[in-house]
Structure formats: C-alpha cells, structure tokens
C-alpha cells in the first residue's frame, strides 16, 4: 500500500497536468472530447491523491520510520488518534492533505457542472487542475512526505506535545477545508472572466462554495482559539500571531464577499468588486499558506523554514499577475449600468460593511507585514504584537459591530426618514439601555462599554427582525409562535440564518470585551498552603494546595498539582494542572515539558490555573487567572457556525420561489425569460 501510495502521488501529478491542459484546450477549441477527458482527469487526480494519502496514513499507523516524515512527527507509542492527525501535523504531510482536499473539492465542483454552467465547466476544471498541479508539484518536489531516510531509526521523534490535543486533531482540517474551498469560487471567477459570462450565473454557482469556505474557516478559527486557550497555557485565545492572522484574512474578505454578492444578486452592481473579492480571498489563503510554510515571519504555529515557501511566493505572484491581466481585459464586460439610488439604503450599508471588513483585513495584513517593511526601510527589526493590533483593530471591530446592526434596518434602494425612525427606535433604545445599566452597575472601561452598548443595539435589531417576521407569519397564516418562527427561518434561510450569524458575532464581541476585566495572580504554594483572592465579580476565592503528584501515562510522565477551590466559602472543585514530559517508547524524553492547564469553566468566567514549575519541597509556582466570559467565545463561534449551516443548507429539489426579483437575478437571460 505504501509503495502504491508513493507511486500514486506522481501519477496524480501527471493527472492534474493532463486535466489542466485538456480542459483549457477543450474549452478554447470547443472540443467536447477534450473537455470530457479533462473532467475525467480531475476525478483521476482525486483517486490517485486518495491512494497517496492512504499510503502515507498506512506508513504512519504502521510506524514505518524509514520515511523521514513518519520518523519526524510520530513515535511508536503515539496514540492512534494523533497518528491519524500526524498526517497534517508536519509540512510535507499537510501539503498532501491539502492536495487531498483540493482534489476532492475539484471533483465535486466538476461533478456539479455536469448539467449546469457547461460554458464555464472546462475553464473551472482547467483552473482547478492548474492549482492542483501546483500543489502536487510543490508536494512532489518541495516537501515530499515519501522522502526516505538513509537509516531506519529505532523510534520516531514523536509529535510535539502541544499538538497532542483533540483541538489540534480537528482544527487544522477545518481550516484547510476552509482555505482550500476558496479555490472553487476563484476557478468559477476565472472561468467567467475567460468566457465573458459575467452575469449572475457564476455567482449563483459560487455562493455555496464561498459559504462552505466561510463555514469551515469559522469553525477552524474557533477551534484554533479553543486549542490555544486550553493547550498553550498563556491564558488567552488570540495572540495576533502571524499564522492566526493568516487564517483571519480570508475569513474577512470572504465575509465581505458574502455581503457584497447580495448587491450583485439584487441590483446587478459590484461586478468588478465581487470578482476582486473572490480572487483576493483565494490569494489570501495562499498567502497564509506562504506565511505558515516559508518561515518568513516568526510564529509558534508555523512549520519549519522550508524551500516550499518559495514555491508559494512564486505561485502567488503568477496568480495575481495572471488574474490582474484577465480582469483588466474584461473591465468593459464587468461594467454595470445599475445605480445606487441613495446613501440611505441597504446597498450603501453593505458597501460600508465591506469597507470596514476590508479595512480590518488591511490592518491585519499591514501589521503582519510591518516588521518586514520596517526592516526593509529602516534596517531595524521590530515586533508587532497584540498591543499594536488591539490599538488598530478594536475601533474598527466596534465599527463593524455597529454596522452589523445597521444593515438589516435599512430598506433596499432607498429608506425614508419615517421608515428609519420606526426601524431604529427599538434597537437604539436597547443599546442605550444596555449601556446605561452597565454604567449604573459600575462598569468604567470605555471600550467594553461601547462594545456592550453596540451589542445591545445589534441584539435589538436581530430580535426586532425575528419578532416582526414571526408576527407577520402569525397574522398571515394563523400559525403558533414556534411554528411561525421555524417556518420563517426555513423559508428565508439566507436572511434569518444570516441574522443568527450576526447574533454569534454579538456574543463573540461581548466575550472579547469581557477580557478587559481579566485578572492574573502569580502564587507559590507548598502543600497545604492557601491563596485567597477576590475575582472580577467580587466573589472571594480560596485555593488550597493538595500537593504534587507524579504519574506515568500513555506516552508521558505527568507532574500535577491539585488545588482545592472554594468560592465564598463553598467548595467548588479540585482543579488539577499538569506539567507533562513526553517520552518515546524507550522512555527517552522527546520534547521539552509542556503544560496542561486546569480550567474551572463557567458561563460567568473561567478560573484558569497553570502549573508553572515545581521548586523544592513540592512547592509549586502557579498562575491563577480569572478570565471573564471566555465560554461565550466558543458559544458565539458555535452560533455563527450554526447560522452558517442554516444559510447554506441545501434546498429541496423543488425550485422555491424567492420574493421579488431575487430569484431571477441568476442571469440576465433568466430575468428576461422570467419577465416574459
């Protein structure tokens, strides 16, 4: 199986080259036989990449240490789940994993064009083939997981302990699923540009793909934050690390696209902008990969410095230049004659939403690259860490939160003043009441107050929308509240699913603002000693050391401290924090000790306990943090993902009649046909 896998990787490379060539040739020459062959090439690429992946998994699971990759990232005593995850734990394996997802998506995209978008199909297959070809070439020649060692070590190096966490097993695949999914809309955009079919057809085809990408990026980023929080032990979930930023960038532009696509669907506007956003999102996903794999910027998350970074830099430049040329040659076709009638319209609100999202994306990109820019200009190395990003992005984030509540309140085309007053009354009152209550309760942090006031405003908007919609259904159809609400969402999934996503954003921002009240305490406790402290909510906590214990388990030696925690005199729990020394199958230490955080989780706050070290006489150095509202970060991420699922949930086969002209904007031809 391993040998078959190794050979299959090279055959997959050839298949990708053939599918790209045959598809483009077939599309330009209008030869159906070549087009069909190109499509079959896409399916064949998937089959061979799957075989190559199966071969690598086999090598990993059977601990075949003759392969450098297996020896570098696994050991024979590594638990099976992490052996499976080791597939994407290192540079070369993750490249193959990327190829697997990409070829899977490519096959799905080509399959979806067998009855629709036939004009676009060869160029979609061709573009996907080119991207697959690049990734497979980079894998074969730049970072080949099948590279063999000159000798066979007795055991492997093992997996980095920080990666031995369920979050790490799940969150990279989600991020990859999100990153890679940006390729399909890009392929459709290129196909639309080549064929000049720049109406609504390609947009209708890519919307779900863009949503799929957004969904997986959302899930991946949230899980990544959770992993960082529970595993890295520094007490936070987002450090504005370059690799974290790299995952946020395509999410931001993808979110902008999901809003601006509505303007093109409804009004036929923003054609150039939407093409630009689709391409930018794809480029940013490649750029993120470049950052992660080139070692150009220091990050704890990045793979080791590798020449494969040069491959990505080259590909990025070629892709940007080629797309730029193609777009510039189609500018006339991308012109639109539709106009925006008023600054007070939902279209305008969406445009400002796009502006802020792009502004945040720019500031994140700028901050990520500024150390390089500074070094190039001044020759001075600088660090751009959280203080910089918080200074720049908190105001922008709050602006975005505000716009989240404004957009849904404004009518399409033109809003009248009476309409605005009617729409804004409840949300504004909700926001102001929230802010006033918090001031009365003693909150003084300016950013937090603004965040919660805006959160109250946006919540007011969302609740109002649901109440009005449900009320309308009840009046029209005589349904009960629950039935009306369910059907309201089910029959208008894009709109109400979107509102659920907005609610997730509100929850997320509220949770972020909670960190303004975080407190940390460094303590040294001998067995039996205690530490008393008041938390941000005013509760009195007592932590009593239960002493140090040592144990060997699975592939690690554990040093743990137990702290008996009581709140306001009532016992809460015994919280354990560990230091783990991972060892190989012969008992030799593999990595530096790592920390397993003890977390006492609640909706109000997390009590976050880190065993920093053990000094003489079982005396432990501990950091105890009170992290308010952290649980809501995960919950908010979950709400967003749930909302995203509702929006992209496939329709039943029947063609549902959308309200107004929405349904018929798929293509101009269809509009005319529908009107007649």
């Amino acid at each position: 199986m391993i040998l078959i896998g190794e050979l299959s990787l090279w055959v997959a490379l050839l298949m990708a080259a053939w599918s790209a060539t045959a598809s483009f040739a077939g599309g330009y020459l209008r030869r159906d036989d070549l087009i069909a062959s190109g499509e079959r090439g896409v399916y064949a690429t998937l089959a061979f990449v799957a075989l190559a992946s199966a071969g690598l998994w086999t090598a990993i699971i059977t601990s075949d240490f003759s392969f450098k990759y297996v020896a570098s990232f696994t050991s024979s005593n590594l638990p099976l789940v992490y052996k499976i995850a080791a597939f994407w734990g290192g540079q070369a394996g993750s490249m193959l994993f990327w190829c697997l997802i990409l070829s899977g998506y490519a096959a799905l995209a080509v399959f979806s064009t067998r009855t629709r978008n036939r004009e676009l199909a060869p160029f979609v297959a061709g573009t996907l083939g080119v991207v697959s070809l690049f990734f497979l070439a980079a894998t074969c020649f730049g970072a080949n997981p099948y590279e063999r060692l000159d000798w066979v070590p007795q055991d492997g190096r093992g997996m980095n302990p920080q990666l031995q966490n369920p979050g790490m097993a799940i969150h990279p695949p989600n991020l990859y699923l999100g990153y890679v999914a940006t390729t399909v809309p890009f392929a459709f955009a290129i196909a639309a540009l080549i064929t000049r079919r720049l109406d609504g057809e390609w947009l209708a085809a890519v919307r779900r793909w863009a949503l799929l990408s957004w969904f997986f990026l959302t899930v991946g980023i949230t899980l990544g934050m959770w992993w960082a929080y529970v595993e890295l032990g520094w007490g936070g979930y987002w450090a504005w690390d370059p690799v974290e930023n790299a995952s946020l960038l395509p999410w931001l532009t993808g979110t902008a696209f999901l809003h601006s696509i509505m303007i093109q669907e409804k009004r036929g506007m923003l054609r150039k902008w939407n093409v630009t956003l689709v391409a930018t999102t794809f480029f940013l996903s490649i750029f993120g990969t470049f950052i992660t794999r080139s070692g150009i910027i220091e990050s704890v998350h990045s793979f080791a410095q590798s020449p494969v970074g040069n491959w990505f830099a080259g590909f990025l430049v070629v892709a940007i230049v080629a797309t730029g040329i193609l777009v510039s040659r189609r500018l006339k076709d991308l012109e639109t004659t539709a106009t925006l009638e008023s600054m007070l319209s939902r279209e305008a609100a969406f445009l400002y939403n796009n502006l802020v999202l792009m502004g945040i994306a720019f500031s994140v990109l700028w901050g990520t690259l500024f150390p390089i820019i500074s070094e190039a200009v001044r020759g001075t190395k600088i660090t751009v860490g959280p203080p910089f990003f918080n200074t720049v992005n908190i105001p922008l984030g709050l602006l975005l939160l505000g716009l989240t509540g404004v957009g849904p309140l404004i009518a399409w085309r033109r809003a009248s003043m009476p309409n605005l007053k009617r729409q804004f009354a409840v949300p504004v009152a909700s926001g102001l009441t929230t802010g006033a209550m918090l001031v009365a309760l003693g909150m003084r942090d300016a950013y937090a107050l603004v965040a919660y006031t805006l959160a109250g405003f946006v919540t007011g908007t969302i609740v109002q929308e649901f109440v009005k919609g449900t009320g309308a259904r009840r009046r029209m159809h005589g349904e009960g509240v629950v039935v009306a609400l369910g059907r309201l969402i089910a029959r208008n999934r894009r709109r109400y699913g979107g509102y659920i996503v907005h609610m997730g954003i509100v929850v997320l921002f509220s949770a972020f603002a909670g960190l303004a009240f975080k407190t940390e305490h460094d303590v040294t406790l001998a067995p039996g000693e205690m530490f008393e402290v008041r938390d941000p909510y005013g509760h009195q906590w007592r932590f009593v050391s239960q002493g140090i214990s040592r144990d060997a388990k699975l592939n690690r030696i554990i040093t743990a401290i137990g702290l008996e925690a009581t709140r306001d005199g009532k016992p809460v729990a015994i919280v354990t924090s560990e230091k783990r020394q991972h060892v190989d199958s012969r008992g030799f230490p593999t990595f530096e000790p790592s920390t397993e955080v003890g977390i006492l989780e609640s909706a109000q706050q997390d009590v976050y306990i880190v065993l920093a070290g053990v000094i003489a006489d079982e005396t432990a150095e501990i950091r105890i943090s009170f992290n308010p509202l952290v649980w809501w970060v995960w919950f908010g991420g979950g709400i967003m993902a749930f909302g995203g699922l509702i929006v992209m949930w496939p329709s039943a086969r029947r063609e549902r009649t959308q309200s107004g002209y929405v349904a018929v904007m798929r293509s101009e031809a269809e509009i005319v046909a529908a009107a007649r």
């Binding site: 190096r157 230490p589 002209y661 005319v672």
Partner: protein
C-alpha cells in the same frame, strides 16, 4: 452542490469518523518510563537559542527604592517581548507552555532594575538599548513607526471617501437617467417587464419591512 440527502450522508459519516477517532485517544496505552537520555533528534517544542538572551544590567540608583508596584511591573513586562521565539511578552511567556529559560532571566533583569530604583520608561529604554526595538511588543509611536499606526486608518479613510464619492456619482447617474425618462438597465426589457420587476421590488421591500 450535493443534494440534501448527500449532504446529510456526508455530514453523518464525518461525525461518526471524528467521534470514532477521538474515542481512540485513551485506548492505546504504551509503556512509558522515565528515561534519562537526550531527545533523539534534539527536539524542542520551540527552537530555543540560549544566545538570544542578553543580560540587561544597570547600577542601582543611590538610595534606590522600588518605584513600581507589582501590578505596574507586570504591566511593564507585558510590553517587553520575550527573546525566545514564542512571540509572547515576558510576563506571559515565563509561565507558559514553552519551558522557556529566557523569560525568567529577563524577568530577573526587570526585578533587578525595579529594585535599583528605575522607572518603567527607564527600564524599557535599557532593554531597547541592549536588544534593539524588536524587544518591544509594539513599536513606539514615533518616526517611521507612525506609518504603521496611521496607515490602516488612512486606508480606511481613503476608502470611505472614495466610496462616498462613488455612491454620490451613482446617485447622480441614476437621477439623470430617471429624469431623462430612460432608466438604464443591465438588460433590454420592455416597459411592461420593467413594471413587473418594479412591482416585485416593492413586494420584496415590503416583505423585508414586515
């Protein structure tokens, strides 16, 4: 795109596979005993270069007494980057996952300077003298660094101006077209068709307001 049934099958399969994989975690116990040798491939969680630590030392001020509280000292350490590759600040790094030997040493330098009577600004200046500006978690707001701070807002402001100008231009164009009695459309439609689309638009807006 997949149908609902295909979607459910795929999602269900993925969930079952993920659950099965996670359930495996505790089931593969391997003998582990305390070993003494070095890591076979010299592995560390984060590549650590002991030479990246540079001692920051200043003579204590005459009659020195600490001028910073513990909270102020911790805040100060949040502004100083650890010299290890963790990209965290000294305060955060010294008790995190990375078993860093550098942040505790930098912490000791900070303690010594605090006890020597130095202010927060003086301590930061001492670290910058020794390591260069890269030791700060964020660049100081002066000189070329100001470009870094201003650029995102400048870009946003420029974008806002451009967008506003564009929206106004669109508005004028729309008004002119309507005034001339020729409303430009992306497709060639008759007046009757236009009326039907307009009616649909009205319905949609009313539906949105409902």
């Amino acid at each position: 795109m997949p149908t609902r049934r295909e979607f459910l099958i795929l999602a269900g399969g993925a969930l079952v596979a993920a659950r099965h994989a996670l359930a495996q975690e505790g089931g593969t116990a391997a003998p582990a005993s305390a070993g003494q040798g070095a890591a076979p491939l010299g592995a560390t969680n984060v590549a650590m270069d002991p030479d990246s630590y540079l001692e920051v030392r200043r003579p204590p001020k005459p009659g020195a007494t600490p001028r910073l509280t513990v909270a102020q000292r911790d805040e100060l350490e949040h502004q100083i980057a650890c010299a290890c590759p963790c990209v965290l600040d000294v305060y955060t790094c010294r008790t995190t996952d990375f078993s860093c030997g550098i942040s505790p040493a930098m912490h000791r330098d900070v303690l010594r300077l605090v006890e020597g009577g130095y202010t927060a600004d003086e301590i930061i200046a001492a670290f910058v003298d020794r390591y260069g500006e890269r030791i700060l978690m964020a660049p100081r707001k002066r000189g070329f660094n100001l470009v870094g701070y201003v650029m995102p807002f400048a870009a946003l402001g420029t974008g806002a101006l451009l967008l506003t100008a564009m929206i106004r231009r669109w508005g004028r164009r729309g008004a002119t077209a309507l005034h001339d009695g020729v409303c430009e459309l992306p497709v060639d439609v008759s007046a009757e068709e236009l009326a039907r689309v307009s009616a649909a638009v009205r319905d949609d807006n009313e539906d949105a307001r409902a």
